[in-house]
Symmetry: D2
Subunit: 330 residues, 4 copies
């Protein structure tokens, strides 16, 4: 099941040299005609979704007892990997996002037992902060959310009346990690690196893993090493999967795709006229969830590529997502 990528230090060095040379060559090449022409599937092709015109769950429909049992079979050693980052005011915050946690003493000593109590208030973009799960109200293509639900008809001041993350439920699936940084022999992929289908297929071959419908695929870019260390760098241009890789994953009907970067996808997209195209493709066109800002270093170090992946979105009514603390268990 496990596979040591590369053999000797020299092998790894050669891999890295070749990769960097290739990056330079790639960067010089003009973006192809395909990328420039790409558009997300139009409404008539993506609606109704494969789960019916009234569906609000998207890929969560894949969550069945069989999927749970398939995931459970991955648990052989009982070892848990924490994939959530610590959440405090030093996490990367895109745009106007903020995070503020303030402790409160709620009681002075009470009763004969001198009981005291503490709690805290938190203000933040709770659906979209830290290690986060993107739900189906997070993204729209033009006027439409997933399943061609009209954004403006279901958006209220206090949350979405449809597609809220509270409907998803816990996700308990078999997970696979594709360690692309390791495949390329680097600690961190370059900021402009688009992960391709060929990369993923090569990683699967070398790691001897495969995946299918209902599985979770985690992609390691190494970019997570900048998280809370250099937030401006972390939130700037960063490596990730491209459109082709996203389409390939969607065809395989996975439940979620996660990564150790801010957005799963390469950012900005090499096609400068597209805005976060993988987000729209996955969430809106396919109803497929994304998990961002994952902590994948320990799994990489231990060469853990197959596991049970368990994620519990908060049941925030009408929210677009949830900060989470998912685990991988093997």
């Amino acid at each position: 099941m496990k596979f040591k990528i590369g053999g000797t230090a020299r092998d790894r060095y050669c891999t890295r040299v070749l990769f960097v040379a290739l990056m330079i060559a790639t960067a010089a090449a003009a973006p192809g005609a395909r990328a420039q022409a790409w558009m997300p599937p139009p409404p008539e092709q993506r609606c109704p979704s494969q789960w019916g015109a009234n569906d609000e769950l998207g890929a969560a429909n894949l969550q069945t007892p069989q999927i749970v049992l398939r995931a459970t079979r991955m648990i052989r050693e009982g070892q848990v990997y924490e994939l959530g980052k610590v959440l405090d005011r030093f996490v990367p915050k895109a745009g106007a996002r903020s995070f503020s946690l303030n402790s409160a003493r709620t009681s002075l000593p009470n009763g004969r037992n001198q009981q005291r109590s503490n709690e805290e208030t938190v203000f933040t973009e709770l659906g979209q902060i830290g290690t986060q799960f993107d739900g189906l109200a997070h993204q729209a293509l033009g006027p439409h959310l997933y399943n061609c639900i009209e954004n403006d008809k279901v958006a209220t001041r206090s949350g979405f009346t449809k597609l809220g993350v509270e409907k998803v439920g816990a996700l308990f699936t078999r997970g696979v990690m594709l360690d692309i940084a390791r495949l390329k022999g680097v600690e961190v992929l370059p900021a402009n690196y688009e992960i391709t289908v060929a990369d993923m297929e090569e990683a699967m071959r070398r790691q001897r893993v495969d995946f299918g419908a209902g599985d979770t695929v985690l992609v390691r870019t190494g970019w997570g090493r900048h998280y809370a260390v250099d937030n401006a760098l972390y939130l700037g241009p960063s490596p990730g999967i491209g459109i082709a890789a996203a389409e390939w994953l969607a065809q395989r009907n996975v439940m979620m795709v996660g990564a150790d970067n801010c957005c799963v996808e390469i950012r900005p997209n090499p096609d400068k006229e597209l805005a976060l195209p993988v987000h729209g493709l996955m969430l809106v066109a396919h109803g497929l969830f994304l998990v961002e800002n994952l902590e994948l270093e320990a799994m990489s170090r231990d060469s853990v590529y197959e596991f049970a992946f368990i994620l519990q979105p908060l049941k925030l009514k009408g929210a677009t997502g949830s900060t989470v603390a998912p685990i991988a268990v093997r």
Copy 2:
């Protein structure tokens, strides 16, 4: 494994009648000398904790690969029970607590793909709202948190420097539910009902379940039926475990105790001079976690008494707890 409590409707009726009669008799009795004299263990008895003078994890030390494997063996059907309540502004809010979720449109249509984005701000007592996990910084006895850590030395404006909930990690244990409301033949236990050791032993016998070190014990009172239906009632006097039951659970070295009420314990305590004594006993004296406001109705209906219990506290740095959406899987 499963056990149908009561046989016929008539049996159940008799159980209920007897129980109510007993309640009236009990309420009339004066509180005993023992209850009035009870005090939490003094510092010299409770510190250092069983896990050493520097420990900040408490019962999370029980979380080992063996405990994960023990829990995994409970998963036979792949059926998941969602034990978290939906979180919105209508949940019960004790004291000055609040919850406000406000949607935000973060972008107008961008790029050729007309990408739009939504998110939301949330303001709330995030460690202590909804279905919640109580961490070890939540309660103090006099000046001391768990392991005699001085509250005022580790409390900062932005969280606790020790015992923060981010240190706990995911909890993945075998779980047992003791359905006390069902045992007593009622839908909801009366507000002043203190669950005793005898009740728990009787439930174990009739449900044919047992539990041991590192397990999670969930106690069903039925009180959760008032949640978000009649919040004033829900947050008022309510049934729960008493001190004796809590001590008995702590002796068995369980990892967590959860319930479908606000506070796990009977509230107010029959000994009016004690303030939330089970909280201090469990969290401060024993380093044992509490889980509040659980949704247990579906498990009760299906007579699910043994399961894997999985709970992922948010990694809120320095926080006293976390809202959660735990699951039971069988």
Copy 3:
């Protein structure tokens, strides 16, 4: 300047009886054809505003040194009336609004002088809570804010790029209070009472006050007595000015209209097909500000009808209004 409305207790009783009788008669009458036909002025009539096509200030353009001097002349005794309500979590909160203030100790004793510091976080709808000033981004008629600025072009996630309340500046004008409750001989006007032009003219006559361009007009309904006492009642149907009175005030080119109720205007409007029509009329069509939830009892008790009115909106960038603590000085 001052005028004792009514003479003896008996006079006041008669006034009240007549008024109540009239109310019953009025309630029985069908709403007239005029009310049903009323619509706010169409864009071509209201744009550009009297202050030009690029104006963002509305009635704040009336704030000139001459207006300040005119107001200053009202200050003869140096007596200050506080017209702002205390702001805490018990204030009336319409819809999903909330208010949470949480104290924080920001430092332990520092330095030789043992300096300690406290502050607090506040979460609330700061532009629209408590005694509040409504700015020009608060209301729209169809797609348009004041001066036919398109709402969706200037609304961002973090505030409005035009018409933000930070542009208004302090308002320092002559103020007049029309005490309609007193005129009618009641402590509080009935919930369904629409204040008419005739009421205002009668109050002016009996109080011997007049007003003109750039003045502030405060209207006392008595409804403020329910504020923070019975919030459900306070926020329910309530008396206030009607459309005709609003148009009459706008024609006189006043700067602001304030009242001791939630919305200045009668709510709901007698014409059930209109939603807060005075708001749109004043803010959108005329660029004229509203001040809500004022504390007017002390001024009524002292028969203070003319004064300098000073209001300092917070300079919240891009906000729709501001909680305020205005004063009247005579």
Copy 4:
């Protein structure tokens, strides 16, 4: 009333050169024995305050009708100076403070008049952000707030039960600005410049202004030019009044002292063992208010040294201060 400081450009140059030379000399001198020995007045000297043992108002007791009339006499031209800074997320934020304003659309088009409504949520340290008024619960010396009120007895989770800023009321006083930067011939005082009694006396002489009991004194350092331009610089070491100047102001029984810097006082204090000593001296020992982060450039440009100063703290119950938008009127 007005006084042109310096005559020719050459005079001003000489002043500046002398000042800078003096600064270098001063910085070289060792701090004297006096500064090292200074301590705030002990409790027995400062309590009860001059306004009695039960007083919670401090210098707000000076606010009388006579003070209002004295201030009103300053208003001769009707010209208003806005002294509040615009409040948005780019303002300087000390420590863990934050500011987040999020717009909300609260209604879709309603009624025949197609009424729409906008508002916003704000999360911030509302008592201590932007241009701010420091109330008497903001600072403590050891265990004591103003008038030896024990901090821990009046601090609750939701505000202070005594000394809350809601009690202060609007302040309407004669104001005087001492333009120390201009006196020294610089645009901005150096970061380590302590404003002395001699500086203030010299400014009074050259500006031909005086002040007395109940007046407000504003001190211009020029430091405000860094506000929201270079926040790290702004919040770092900065010029301001020293202990001697503060004591001198307190002896003159002024109501408030404001400045165009973060803290009124020089920061850090030249005596490194003292933490914000002027804060404790003014707020705790003398019950005298501070106003920070004022916008004073326009008044300096226009040589406005005498005016009516009007400040309306929000009536935030139990708060330590209030963001404000005060004005000067001449």
